[in-house]
Subunit: 559 residues, 2 copies
């Protein structure tokens, strides 16, 4: 399909990320000459991606069409929807970016950090406002979520009306009164929705997700009873949560200290745009802490996921210069245990208890609610929009399957609800939908400054090194006679303690010499074969004696 334009009355939709994983959301809509991108997020590394900082969607599938991108439209400001922008925007040709006020405020911070702010074009859009982007007309509507100023999209095209829910829940008592726009959704349903793309994250949960207000009530119940210092940790993007924490703290006569770079940055943006209300005299600096009464302070901080270098983890190890916990202090972890982080968070909680603090967390208290719709809300979305076709999005494979099953219970059959994956295009026309040939997708790993150079082979080697350590075997070989004149000298890391194992390593070296004498060096025709023999000899020795398989790196020096 390269360089071939689609018919102008068809829309080709596919995901570059976000289907089959929770993260790196990015979608493409194609109609005639025009491309429209929805979201551009990153994913946090899986545990086997050793040493990797973050993961980006591979944009090869559209690399030769970037001049046709009319715009990048953003649903909301979470990392899995905007985090890849600084890395991909140049390669995408700096398309204009459309999104809500706070979303663009967060994007602006990222672009500044990466020195891209001068090349970018940001266009704030209000709720219920429509923008024309090439063949597409995109209307933003309010979607309540765990970040302020989230939106869903109603995308009108020659092929029909596509509704993208954004990340959403149906919260009837949101903190800022901004409910998910059910009346717009009902009206769109009346108009006729040809394709619904809906958030599958919480489809495993029965019923309805609790309202954000519940957490405010929990804060109001807990904080008045706290005697010493209070720390509240939450995601710095959850402005409503921070608002409620601040309100409760102030109601107890506590000043507020914001701690953590992203916490300070995000709150600054939110206050500037009017999303976070707190008077200046209610806020203090961290350095003031030692002059204040502990029971008159609440510190709002990051680190709720037990991230190794975070402030909260350092506090839990008594390793933070300014914040030292005492018996009677309270730490409120107002956040989810993100899958994969459970152990780190458990360790954090254990260590906070060791410091003498009382810890409040989601297992034992209603101190966090999800930002994603549960089964009943997902059914309500389907009922309001009554789509002709439905593709579950924003979930791992099982979430997408279960969301499609949910749709079946509401009458959408196998030709109407589709479980798709990244790179699987759906073509929408007035006649209906059809599948199209798969396009290239993938994950680009970022490690330090390197983007995409750590691949499967390097990860495999890192895993080998991680589990078994390494042994380097240095041999000096006389280049004329082929005789071994030096070594093998063995050096190890992460395998056995080098100090205590000299005898053992000498035995290993002897095993190598034995094998090489046997094989007779004349039979070995090149250095590569010699390396293979050395590796084999050592592998056998280590496996037999100690049942371990270190990564073996033979080094042959011609002398």
């Amino acid at each position: 399909m390269e360089n071939k334009h689609l018919p102008t009355d068809e829309v080709r939709w596919f995901a570059l990320g976000g289907l089959g994983e929770i993260g790196m959301n990015m979608m493409v809509l194609e109609c005639g000459e025009d491309l429209l991108l929805v979201d551009c997020g990153l994913m946090f590394p899986e545990s086997y991606m050793l040493g990797i900082d973050l993961v980006l969607p591979d944009i090869s599938a559209i690399a030769d069409k970037v001049d046709r991108i009319r715009a990048l439209v953003l649903t909301h400001g979470h990392e899995d929807h905007i985090g890849a922008i600084p890395y991909l925007l140049p390669a995408l040709g700096f398309p204009p970016i459309y999104g809500s006020g706070l979303t663009l405020g967060l994007v602006r911070n990222k672009l500044r950090e990466h020195d891209l702010i001068d090349s970018a074009h940001l266009h704030p859009v209000r709720m219920r406002e429509t923008v024309r982007l090439g063949t597409f007309e995109v209307e933003f509507f309010r979607a309540a979520h765990s970040i302020v100023d989230g939106a869903g999209l109603a995308i009108r095209s020659p092929a029909g009306l596509i509704v993208h829910t954004g990340d959403f829940k149906i919260d009837n008592t949101p903190v800022d009164g901004e409910r998910t726009d059910l009346s717009r959704l009902a009206a769109l349903g009346d108009e006729g929705v040809d394709l619904l793309l809906s958030d599958s994250t919480n489809v495993e949960r029965a019923g309805t997700t609790l309202s954000e207000q519940v957490v405010g009530e929990a804060f109001n119940e807990i904080m008045p009873r706290c005697k010493g210092l209070v720390l509240v940790s939450t995601f710095s993007s959850n402005i409503h949560r921070i608002q409620q924490a601040m309100d409760s703290a102030r109601a107890c006569g506590r000043s507020i200290i914001l701690h953590g770079r992203s916490m300070e940055q995000n709150c600054a943006v939110a206050r500037q745009l009017g999303y976070l209300q707190v008077p200046d005299d209610a806020l203090c600096e961290l350095r003031d802490l030692r002059n204040l009464d502990r029971e008159k302070v609440a510190i709002i901080t990051t680190g709720s996921q037990g991230e190794p270098l975070s402030a909260l983890v350092r506090i839990s190890h008594n390793d933070h210069k300014q914040i030292v916990l005492e018996h009677g202090d309270t730490v409120i972890l107002s956040s989810k245990f993100i899958p994969g982080n459970e152990k780190a968070i458990a360790n954090l909680i254990n260590n906070l208890y060791r410091r003498g603090a009382e810890v409040v967390y989601e297992t034992t208290s209603e101190i966090h609610v999800s930002g994603h719709a549960a089964q009943d809300e997902l059914k309500t979305m389907l009922a309001l929009t009554r789509p002709r076709h439905f593709v579950p999005i924003h979930g791992e494979y099982r979430h997408l399957v279960k969301h499609a099953q949910l749709a079946r219970t509401m009458g959408l059959g196998v030709n109407e609800a589709f479980v798709m994956g990244n790179g699987m295009p759906l073509v929408l026309s007035r006649e209906g939908v059809r599948l199209d040939d798969e396009v290239e997708t993938g994950r680009v790993l970022v490690d330090g400054k390197g983007i995409g150079d750590v691949g499967a082979l390097e990860l495999r080697d890192r895993r080998h090194l991680a589990n078994h350590g390494m042994v380097t075997a240095v041999l000096g070989v006389n280049s004329r006679s082929g005789e071994i004149v030096y070594g093998p000298e063995l050096l190890t890391r992460g395998f056995v303690p080098e100090e205590d194992s000299r005898d053992y390593l000498e035995q290993a070296a002897a095993a190598v010499r034995e094998v090489l004498t046997e094989h007779s060096l004349e039979a070995i025709s090149d250095w590569e074969e010699l390396r293979v023999e050395v590796r084999k000899a050592l592998r056998r020795f280590f496996n037999r004696t100690i049942q371990r398989r270190p990564l073996i790196v033979p080094i042959i020096m011609e002398l």
Copy 2:
């Protein structure tokens, strides 16, 4: 306290493992000349313990007293209570082992595998039976748990009565009718319990843990509706769960195949001892599968934790020779998502869905219940035993703290309920309790055949290798002139792709030569200093150019 015997009317109690972690349970009671050990378990490695197979409690604190060990008493057959036996029994001097029938059956299997069966002395004990072990009298009483034949202990000593709950729940409808012996506990409470040691695992959960029967009901509801093949995965030690799965399967006209070595072994022991009831004609072999109707078979298998090499994971990757999933098959994960394994299990579920199976798991179905008491049951235990003193056991730090808090709500004050850690002895006498000097405890890491040789340094190196890979720099130095005559030649693994990075690595080598020329080799007095300079030069280069920190191994060869 070495070699000094305690007064004969005092009992010194301490834990070598199990307090501050869930795993490697092992306790010591000392009275006069006698030592009594309770349990001898292993712990599964934490995620930072790269390449480690399992973790054992360090027994240094009793190494010089093993001749005084009267017995090792076992509460039940889970790995965290018996798993360390094959590794520690010789060092402990092969003390006689007392436990229930099934517990000793599982121990026997382990001892056979490690060729220790001939040196061990195993003594089966019945419930409500008392055995005299030196100064101690130990009575076993039934404790319902997620393994058959579990027990708690009433230990009578000159200092008083100590009750150890074992791992327990108060299940009023257990599958085999064997309830936790509440009447014995009440009677012991009447007698006067001086010290209660109680299972803290589920203290974060309010209310009561559901009965095992609930899972049987779930099986009976789910299985009749299954069309194709049915796989049930659960822990091979949970005989009751396996019994219920078998009963449901047979009620649907399905034959049963047991799959997985530990599943086959444990079921064999359980059938032999009469704990598992299934007629021979209901069982089939895996090789028969291809000759049977899929909807007339249920396979009971291990692998519920997404363990990389397990049968279930291989099945989910379509990588199992005999078991191939088809659309319409059902996989029932009748097990807990053990903390730390959530991602592996999520991936397993996703992949099973990709194979076309429907998956039933604890998030969406009552297909698993815990084996540990929740808050109300823990309070009932305290109410029945009415102990003078209380030490929460079997939990991470937060569990122990919360269990002590629970006891406070029932009137046990700070001098009665103690949060202890491994190696912190409590001395019980007729007068009361006091704390004693801490003893040495620790974790011994097992990797392959090596026990205890992988320590903190090796783990740190493995982590470094895991996150950044490695670079070896080989230099040949003229031993007389100190000139570099060879290299530096750089080899890498897990860092950058060696193939595509020759230029980059040549730049790195050049950076080293530059630094060494500057520093002038006369100034470098020994090879260690040279290694340091090489490492520094490379570290700076890599950090500046690519912001990565591989483990650097300089190798200097004198030529």
